[in-house]
Symmetry: C2
Subunit: 213 residues, 2 copies
Amino acid sequence: MDWQALTADQAALARIPQQLRMLAERWEIDKGQILFRIGDRIHSVFSIISGEVRLIRRDRGGSEVVLQRSRGGFFAEASLDSKVYHCDVVATEKGSVLRFPVLAFRAALDVDSDFRNAWMIHLAREVRKLRAQCERLSLRSAADRVFHYIESEGSDGIITLNQSRKAWAAELGLTHEALYRTLSRLQSNGTLDITGHRIAIVQADPAHHLQSV
Amino acid sequence: MDWQALTADQAALARIPQQLRMLAERWEIDKGQILFRIGDRIHSVFSIISGEVRLIRRDRGGSEVVLQRSRGGFFAEASLDSKVYHCDVVATEKGSVLRFPVLAFRAALDVDSDFRNAWMIHLAREVRKLRAQCERLSLRSAADRVFHYIESEGSDGIITLNQSRKAWAAELGLTHEALYRTLSRLQSNGTLDITGHRIAIVQADPAHHLQSV
DNA sequence: CGTACTTTTGAATCGCATCAAATCTGGTGG
DNA sequence: CCACCAGATTTGATGCGATTCAAAAGTACG
């Protein structure tokens, strides 16, 4: 297991103490596989290596509600403080996850203050990031969401995307068509400078300027 | 300070050790007041008693991006691990906040394992809740968001709102008009049973049924 | 070289935002 | 108790922008 390669969004993973690492199991998961069901006794905390999982809650009618889609990072962290899982978890594509026994995880948090601090920092950052994303998703227009993303996730009005535009569109809550059209409009506008995966804000959107006067 | 009244969404507040509580200061804030600016040295962690604050980042053009709106609960938690604030914080209405010295807060987390556990649980729950909200906000239709909210925030298809519908609309990322119309349509549909602040799903939405077949 | 996926453009449609205005509600003070 | 006000609720008409469906061109990878 290459623990060094994961540090980017996963500083907490790198800080996992040796003792706990040795207890981690790698699970290969198939598309459609159910990792655990609602009501199951909690046994593990997971981190995704590859693929995608969804946390789902179903009503009696059979319609389902996606509580979370994960492609990387931990999931079911909230299970650290309960006895049973509160949702189903299903893999939507082939991939693999890392499984940590929850008791050992709790014990490591209690004992290892470095790990504990890394974990708290990880959670706090996640909260900050998710709050920003909620704000972004409540913006009405595609252009506003693009700006918000660059301003909050990039630095100094410049961002280098680490994903395909299609995936970015999903993160922005847009269809890929809408994002493509918005980007090309903003570029021919002179508002954005797009070179490959690097996107820079050239000047504030005219509409935004009005607000600031 | 009535610490008991806040336990609802704020279990972590109730677990704050006596020593740290004694260091807390209550700040009365006016509309438009700036609590701190980007680049300021971090001195405090805050919790809102009343009113609303916004975490804002500005670009050079003067247009601003809202990273977070808070009406209750902690904000700027992520500042526990940095030296300077990463955004401006402005009050958008009159209210008051609780101010904890960040050093004492960190020390309390190190020393008091009860408080520490409560804090980690608080953060993990916040993460879970925010992820669900992001999923909800990326749903296209107003009806889907209403269902998602009831399924994920309520229990057994029933929810009792603790806020006005206008405020709920904002949380759902909708205009209040859209929410009012959607609710009355779903009620005359026979899909929802609405009695005051109690909303119950009577039957799955027909459109959802198709998916589950 | 072929396959799967992303990127791109087009046309039509639909749902939500927007602006407007009326009604209802809870709380305040006279 | 009533008048009054601010805010929430409700309904209507209109337009825009994103979705949707469709299809073509580009690109990475084995």
